[in-house]
C-alpha cells in the first residue's frame, strides 16, 4: 500500500510491523513524532508506551522490556543519545536486542535542535566505553526509514545486539511516498531451551547465545559486569574478559559481509562520490547528470563496508560528502588508501543546510 508519510511516522509503522511491543522515550526534536506516534499506535497493537523521566531511564526500561521477551525501541536525538551511551554499552555487554533511532541534529550540546546533521556517526560506534562493535544503519529516504527500521529489528534479534538507526533530522521530518509492505520477513531471537539455564553465556556454533526470557523458569543471572559462562561475575581473570569481549565483537566482525548493505552507482567511473543519508541524494543527482561519476553509498555505516568500498575506489579519486566537519571521512581515507585509491577529498556541510547540486559539481570539478 502506498502512503504519503513523514519519516518519523514511517519508522513507527515499520517498528510495529516488525513486532515492536515496547517503547520508552523522552521527547526531543527532531525525533519527537516517533514518541507521539508510538503513544497513539502501540497500544492498538497490544504494546506498551511509556514516557520516562529521561533518556537514561528510557533505554534502561527498553533493556528491561527486552529481557521480559519483547521487541523494544527508543528514539532520540543528539543530547539524548549522549545520555543513552551508558545503556548502549550495557545492552552490548548483556547482548540485549534493542533498536535505537537517532534523528541527528546539529551539535555539540543542544546545538541546532531543528536542523539536520550527521555529527553522531562516530558516537554511534564509539560513544560507550570499552571495546565493542555495533550495527548502525543510515536511511536516505522515507522509504528507507521504513525498510531499515524493519532491518534494524531483524539484525538486533539475530545478533542479540542493540542496532542504531542513524537518520538525519531532514529524513525524519520529510514527507515522501512509502510502499508500506504488508508481507515482511521477520527474524525472532533464538530462545533458550526450557528449564533452568546453567551456561547462560554459552554460544552456539554461529557465535550466538540463545536468549533466556525472564519469567520462564530459566533462573538466570544477567550482569553488565564481566561474567563467566555461568553468568557469575568474574572480573580479575584476563582470559574471561578476553573471551567475553572477543565474542561480542566477533559476532559482528565475522558476520560483517552478511550485515553490509550498500549501493553503488556507476562503479567504473574514475571519480567516486562517497555519501550516506541525505547527502547521498545530492551525490546521485550529480552523478546522474554527468556521466563520468560514480557513487558509493553505505547503508550499513557500522560495521563499515570496508571491502566493498575498497573494490570500488581502487586507483580512483574519492569525494566524500558529510553533514559534519569530518567524521566518516577518516574511515573512508583509511579504507580507500589501503585499497589503493589516488586521493580522498572532503566537502563538509555545517549549519543545517544541505549540499546543493552546484556545490557538489564544483567540488568534483564538473562545473
Amino acid at each position: 500500500m502506498r502512503e504519503f508519510l513523514l519519516g518519523n511516522e514511517a519508522c513507527v509503522r515499520a517498528a510495529i510491523a516488525a513486532g515492536c511491543k515496547f517503547y520508552a522515550g523522552y521527547p526531543i526534536t527532531p525525533s519527537t513524532e516517533i514518541a507521539e506516534a508510538m503513544a497513539r499506535e502501540l497500544p492498538k497493537a497490544g504494546g506498551t508506551f511509556i514516557q520516562m523521566e529521561d533518556e537514561i531511564a528510557s533505554i534502561s526500561a527498553c533493556i528491561g522490556a527486552s529481557w521480559a521477551g519483547l521487541k523494544a525501541m527508543s528514539a532520540t536525538s543528539g543530547p539524548g543519545f549522549s545520555l543513552m551511551q551508558e545503556g548502549i554499552g550495557y545492552a552490548v555487554m548483556t547482548e540485549t536486542p534493542l533498536v535505537i533511532v537517532n534523528c541527528m541534529r546539529g551539535g555539540p550540546s543542544t546545538g541546532q535542535p531543528t536542523k539536520p546533521a550527521q555529527g553522531d556517526v562516530m558516537q554511534a560506534k564509539y560513544g560507550s566505553h570499552g571495546d565493542y562493535e555495533i550495527i548502525a544503519l543510515s536511511p536516505a529516504s522515507v522509504q528507507e526509514m521504513f525498510d531499515l527500521t524493519i532491518e534494524a529489528f531483524n539484525l538486533s534479534e539475530q545478533y542479540r545486539t542493540p542496532v542504531i538507526l542513524l537518520a538525519d533530522g531532514e529524513i525524519a521530518h520529510m514527507r515522501e511516498p512509502v510502499n508500506v509492505r504488508e508481507e515482511i520477513k521477520l527474524i525472532q531471537r533464538k530462545l533458550a531451551k526450557p528449564g533452568i539455564v546453567k551456561e547462560v553465556w554459552k554460544a552456539e556454533e554461529d557465535g550466538i547465545v540463545p536468549f533466556p526470557v525472564f519469567g520462564r523458569g530459566h533462573r538466570v543471572y544477567i550482569s553488565g559486569t564481566t561474567s563467566d559462562i555461568y553468568g557469575y561475575p568474574s572480573t580479575v581473570k584476563p582470559e574471561v574478559h578476553e573471551a567475553v569481549v572477543r565474542r561480542i565483537c566477533d559476532k559482528i566482525r565475522k558476520n560483517a559481509s552478511r550485515i553490509w548493505k550498500y549501493e553503488v552507482y556507476n562503479a567504473d567511473a574514475k571519480k567516486i562520490l562517497f555519501a550516506y543519508g541525505l547527502p547521498a541524494r545530492a551525490a546521485l543527482a550529480v552523478a546522474k547528470k554527468h556521466g563520468n561519476l560514480g557513487v558509493f553509498r553505505p547503508i550499513t555505516l557500522w560495521p563499515f563496508p570496508e571491502r566493498p568500498l575498497g573494490e570500488v575506489v581502487k586507483g580512483k579519486e574519492v569525494y566524500v560528502l558529510e553533514m559534519n566537519y569530518g567524521k566518516m571521512v577518516a574511515e573512508v581515507e583509511r579504507a580507500a588508501y589501503k585499497a589503493g585509491a589516488k586521493n580522498v577529498e572532503f566537502l563538509p556541510k555545517l549549519g543545517g543546510e544541505i549540499h546543493s547540486v552546484e556545490e557538489v559539481e564544483k567540488f568534483v570539478g564538473v562545473r
Binding site: 528510557s58 529481557w67 521477551g69
Partner: protein, 262 residues
C-alpha cells in the same frame, strides 16, 4: 521454601565483609517471602553497590544493571510482563543519589515495584564515601572533616511522591522487617522498604565504631519505633523513627494503564 532453594547456593559463600548488614537483609527476605514467592516468576533487579548484589544471590531470574538505573530497568521488565513479581534492591547511593530521579518518578507513577533500599549511610563498595543518606557531620573518606551536608529521608520523600507503601526498619528489628517485607510484597503499586543497615568497613571504620557488634548497638540506640508523626532531625545525635510512613491503596500504574486502555 528452604533457604537452600531460595538462594543460589553455588555462589556461597557470599562476597560480604564479616559483620555486614546485608546478611541479615537476605535472611529477612527469605523469611518474608519463602511462603509466597514463586521463584520462576520473580525477577530481582540490582544496580551497582554491595547491597545491589543481593539480586544475584536469590535463585530467580536476576539482572545486575548499571549504577542507579535498577528502577528504570525494573519498570521495563514489569511493563514487559506484568505477571512477574519485580523486586529492586540496592544501597542508599544507588537508589537515592545517582538513582534519585528514577526513585521519585517511579513513586509518583506508583509503578508496580517493590524497592528495598539498604541504607548503610555510606558508599560501601567504593570504600566509604558519603551518600545522600549520610548523617550530618559524619566522617567519610570524602568528608574527612565531617559531612557538611544534610541527608535525605527516603521514606518520607517516597511517601510524599505518592507511593502506596513506604516503611523503614533496621536490621536490629528483624521480626518487624520480615512483617513489613511480607506486607510490601503483597501490595500493588510502588512499595519502598528502607532498611537501616551497617557497613563496618566503610561507615564503622571512618566513624570509630570499629566492631560490628558496636554498630548494632549504635543502630539500636539511634532508632525508635514511631508512635506518631513527630520526627527528630537526622544526625548522629538524632534518632531515626521506624515504621510505616505510607500504606495506601492508590490505583497502581498497571491498574491505571488497564483502565485507560479499556
Amino acid at each position: 521454601m528452604e533457604i537452600e532453594e531460595f538462594f543460589r547456593m553455588d555462589r556461597w559463600p557470599n562476597s560480604y565483609c564479616p559483620g555486614c548488614g546485608n546478611g541479615i537483609v537476605m535472611n529477612c527476605m527469605h523469611r518474608a517471602m519463602r511462603d509466597m514467592v514463586n521463584l520462576d516468576r520473580l525477577v530481582m533487579v540490582g544496580g551497582i553497590g554491595c547491597s545491589a548484589r543481593i539480586d544475584g544471590y536469590v535463585f530467580s531470574d536476576a539482572i545486575h544493571t548499571t549504577h542507579g538505573r535498577a528502577i528504570a530497568f525494573a519498570t521495563g521488565i514489569k511493563l514487559g510482563n506484568p505477571e512477574l513479581d519485580v523486586i529492586v534492591i540496592g544501597g542508599d547511593g544507588d537508589i537515592g543519589a545517582i538513582g534519585g530521579n528514577h526513585l521519585i518518578n517511579a513513586a509518583r507513577r506508583n509503578m508496580d515495584l517493590l524497592v528495598i533500599c539498604v541504607n548503610n549511610w555510606i558508599y560501601g563498595m567504593t570504600g566509604g564515601q558519603i551518600s545522600p543518606a549520610s548523617p550530618h557531620e559524619c566522617m567519610s573518606t570524602t568528608t574527612p572533616l565531617g559531612n557538611p551536608e544534610y541527608s535525605f529521608e527516603f521514606v518520607k520523600l517516597v511517601a510524599e511522591c505518592g507511593a502506596n507503601y513506604a516503611a523503614r526498619w533496621s536490621i536490629t528489628h528483624p521480626f518487624q522487617l520480615v512483617n513489613c517485607l511480607k506486607t510490601a510484597f503483597q501490595k500493588k503499586g510502588f512499595r519502598f522498604v528502607e532498611v537501616l543497615s551497617i557497613c563496618p568497613t566503610g561507615f564503622g571504620r571512618n566513624n570509630k565504631i570499629n566492631e560490628p557488634a558496636e554498630l548494632y548497638k549504635f543502630l539500636k540506640e539511634k532508632t525508635y519505633i514511631m508512635k506518631d508523626e513527630n520526627r527528630i532531625a537526622v544526625n548522629l545525635d538524632g534518632k531515626f523513627p521506624l515504621g510505616e510512613f505510607a500504606n495506601i491503596d492508590r490505583e497502581s500504574y498497571i491498574e491505571s494503564l488497564k483502565k485507560i486502555r479499556g
